[in-house]
Amino acid sequence: MANLTINGKQIIVPDGVTILDAARRNDIYIPTLCDDPRLEPHGGCRLCLIQVKGMPRPVTACTTPVTEGMEIETTNEQIERQRRTIVELLLSDHPNDCMICDKAGDCTLQELAYFYDIRSNRFVGERRQYTKKDQNPFIERDMEKCILCGKCVRVCDEIQGLGAIDVAGRGFTAKVSPAFEKDLNCEFCGQCVSICPTGALMGKQSVGKGRQKDVKEVETVCTYCGCGCNVTLHVSRNEVVRVTSRPDTINEGWLCVKGRFGYSFINIPARLTTPLIKKDGKFVPASWDEALDLIAEKLGAIKEKHGPDAIGGLSSARCTNEENYLFQKFIRAGIGTNNVDHCARY
């Protein structure tokens, strides 16, 4: 354990954690744009610069490990001036269109601009302007809004193991890009979308469907596979408009393409919302009671006539463990046969 002081407050943290970690554990706020505790430290945005007593220049809290006896100052006039300059510089190269941006209200850059009260900008100048929009099916990439925090690049490499994107070019117009500036053609897991602090990366299906403040969040479990990733459905005007996952879940907030983007079926008119019973050669909507009664009646009749082994049950990996447990229980104990299986096997 290391003893240190942050802003005069004495704290004890485990050896080897970063100064940013130490501050977070003690509810001391340090602004960040490029840090994510789930990724390797980057040290690119420079917002987390803090002063350590005895060091000649400010250091980044996100990359510097604590050492015994460190005396840290997370804020002072010079540090705040630098942070403000950094936010101002970012805004000087950012489209000023928060009013129509899907990310508004959920954007770290916007929040920083608000807290630093940046109304006018000393550095108005050339902005990066890119016309090309990416034709890929899932991810809207608006690189004019990108602040080059490098989170998407790192998540794709470190978490997804894919390396589908990297920074290309140098100087002012350095840009996050797939190889040869082609359209994105990757796994479309959307981890990058989930981690982008600005409106540079958005799910294409979500654009224009409602911003964060208008959304009702519904916690649930992804039904695509037995992994059981936790998902949060974002519901706006009675429509699921986006799927995210919280970092404090079993899946640490990461999803696959199905969980993240495969939700449009929910709102498709052809989707069945009630049971159907075939009457006179045609499917007719029925209530659950009606349908279950019919099934019970038919299964009972088959069992009576041919014995329980004439019946078999197949269930689905898209059901939860609990549902699958109940299903095999029903087949084995209720029907009385071992003819039960599902796509991921019991």
Binding site: G43, D93, I147, V167, A174
Partner: protein, 592 residues
């Protein structure tokens, strides 16, 4: 007649550019043809030698007859025949073509350590280096010294890193010897990205074996079995000679397994860089060797803790390493006797700009700038006045003319707001605009920023924009203060040395030439007459003879007037190229 004749042709990049290859082949042919008649061929040898510093006079050729050396300058292939006939055969040097006195003053105040064998040895022949004491230092170290003793000698010599920061080499090596782990790496940094710099290039081209020898000694000292030279692909000749030298050193047992039978294993790989300035920064260089994007990382961990592929790594500059064999051979006290208290030895500079004798020079640390400019450099071109000297390239600053007494050592340079850097030295005269100079360097650093951190990527862009508008006559009140404030923030908040030092040229020119900035902003005037948008050319009627010379050279057709009557420039058409100004014999054209 059985003379011992040796001809040395300067074959550095400058020499080759000036036609060294043709000069050399013409010599070969001419000697062969007289050889049949005069039979001088037997003792005659031809050498390619590397850069000898005086690039302005290329192609330089030494003709050595029985030990007497005569040096010719500006030699073209068609001059060779006469040299062979009159000098080699006839024994009479051609006086008019020999180097003049200033060739000797150019060399007199120089003290050559790193460059001592450049221009003397044939860089493509290991025997030539061995003949001048090459690899003696490796033998000495391997047979008589422990690694710690080797480091102690370097410590006593006071050698500091020549790559820019001037970090004591022995301290670095000491940290590496203490680092433990299954592997260690020694990397020679030959990226040399500063615009206009060619020090390291000349050393590798002129004497690659010295760099290799320095690396072997370093590897022995820190216990690193693997070495890399990271060199930019734009240096094809240096790369070629380096490969050849490594091959030769390996054949002779100076590289590879069990070197000289003393149990040391060391091999060097060459890694080509793609010419990014930022890849000279240690952590970016390591990333580049690992095949990643050349982008710096936050330190700690330092390379000596966790470097290439995660192993302890030491990175040294070419010149630093090339000093090492000489220090080992001649001793620490010999080296430490040169220079000042804290800056020992010599430093190589690439002297360029408005100087008479431009070229590669090596001077003892602590030499007054004045002596470099006037004695070695021969003063300012075209009799103009010295305005300032820029050192340290895009990370450095300017030393104004009234401070030419400043001595060249790490401490004095930083005191006046500049840096030693890797050895770029650009001489500026009264026709150089300091705002424009700052703009030039910012253009470079901005386009070379890796883009990882915001203050550097966007900050240098904004600094450049402000400088640009000042030179375009669109400067605003408050711009100087804005530059100062932004420059300070970029310096303190950038991640790597590139961003941290990029504002230096701005801050240093504001510090010494604030009045020039003010003239641009408030009077819309460029005192040096450089910034086109602030210039206008007009004809002074009282001097104009109506000779029409200007009308004829003006590419825009902006000058009207009848013969023998005063002419006039139509301002809307004038493109400010200055052709009329250069042409008028009667000083009738006013610039301003």
């Amino acid at each position: 007649m059985n003379k011992d004749v040796s001809i040395k042709v300067c074959m550095g990049t400058g020499g080759i550019a000036a036609g060294g290859v043709e000069v050399m082949s013409t010599f070969e042919k001419a000697l062969a043809s007289v050889g049949i008649k005069a039979a001088v061929q037997k003792n005659c040898s031809m050498h390619k030698v590397g850069c000898r510093g005086f690039c302005a006079r290329d192609v330089l050729v030494d003709v050595i007859i029985d030990g007497t050396k005569s040096t010719y300058q500006y030699i073209k292939p068609d001059m060779v025949e006469r040299i062979v006939q009159e000098h080699v055969v006839g024994g009479a040097p051609i006086g008019d073509w020999l180097v003049t006195d200033d060739y000797h003053t150019f060399h007199d105040k120089q003290v050559k350590v790193v460059l001592s064998d450049c221009g003397e040895v044939d860089p493509e022949d290991i025997d030539s280096y061995l003949g001048r004491g090459g690899y003696e230092a490796v033998k000495k170290v391997l047979t008589t010294m422990t690694p710690q003793e080797t480091i102690d000698v370097i410590k006593a010599s006071g050698l500091r890193g020549r790559g820019g920061a001037g970090f004591p080499t022995a301290v670095k090596w000491d940290m590496a010897i203490k680092a433990t782990g299954p592997k260690k790496y020694l990397i020679c940094n030959a990226d040399e990205g500063d615009p206009g710099a060619f020090m390291d290039r000349s050393v590798v081209e002129g004497n690659p074996h010295a760099v290799i020898e320095g690396m072997i000694i370093g590897a022995y000292a820190i216990g690193a079995p693997h070495g890399y030279v990271y060199i930019r692909a734009e240096y094809p000749l240096a790369v070629e000679r380096l490969h050849l030298a490594i091959k030769q050193a390996k054949e002779r047992g100076y590289l590879g397994k069990n070197i000289l039978g003393k149990g040391l294993d060391f091999m060097i790989k060459v890694k080509l860089g793609a010419g990014a300035f930022v890849c000279g920064e240690e952590t970016a260089l390591i990333a580049s060797i690992e095949g990643k994007r050349g982008q710096p990382k936050a330190k700690p961990p330092f390379p000596v803790q966790k470097g290439l592929w995660g192993y302890p790594t030491i990175i040294n500059n070419v010149e630093t390493l090339a000093n090492v064999p000489y220090i080992i051979r001649k001793g620490a006290s010999w080296y430490a006797a040169m220079g000042t208290e804290k800056s020992k030895g010599t430093k190589v500079f690439a002297l360029t700009g408005k100087i008479l004798n431009s070229g590669l020079i090596e001077v003892p640390m602590g030499i007054p700038l004045k002596e470099v400019i006037y004695d070695i450099g021969g003063g300012i071109e075209n009799g103009k006045k010295l305005k300032a000297v820029q050192t340290g390239g895009p990370s450095g600053g300017c030393i104004p003319a009234n401070m030419v007494d400043t001595t060249l050592d790490y401490e004095s340079l930083s005191k006046v707001g500049s840096i030693m850097g890797s050895g770029g030295m650009v001489v500026l005269d009264e026709t150089d605009c300091m705002v424009n100079v700052a703009k030039y360097f910012l253009q470079f650093t901005q386009s070379e920023s890796c883009g990882k951190c915001i203050p550097c990527r966007v900050g240098t862009k904004r600094l450049l924009e402000i400088l640009t508008r000042i030179t375009e006559g669109k400067g605003r009140e408050g711009d100087i203060e804005l530059l100062e404030s932004l420059a300070a923030d970029v310096k303190t908040s950038s991640l790597c040395g590139l961003g941290q030092s990029a504002p230096n040229p701005v801050l240093s020119t504001i510090r010494y030439y604030r009045d020039e900035y003010e003239a641009h902003i408030y009077e819309k005037r460029c005192p040096a007459g450089v910034c086109k948008d602030l210039l206008s050319y007009s004809i002074l009627e009282e001097f104009c003879k109506g000779c029409t010379a200007c009308t004829r050279v003006c590419p825009a057709g902006a000058i009207i007037g009848e013969k023998k009557k005063p002419h006039k420039i139509i301002q809307d058409i004038c493109i400010k190229c200055g052709a009329c100004f250069e042409t008028c014999k009667f000083k009738a054209i006013k610039k301003g």
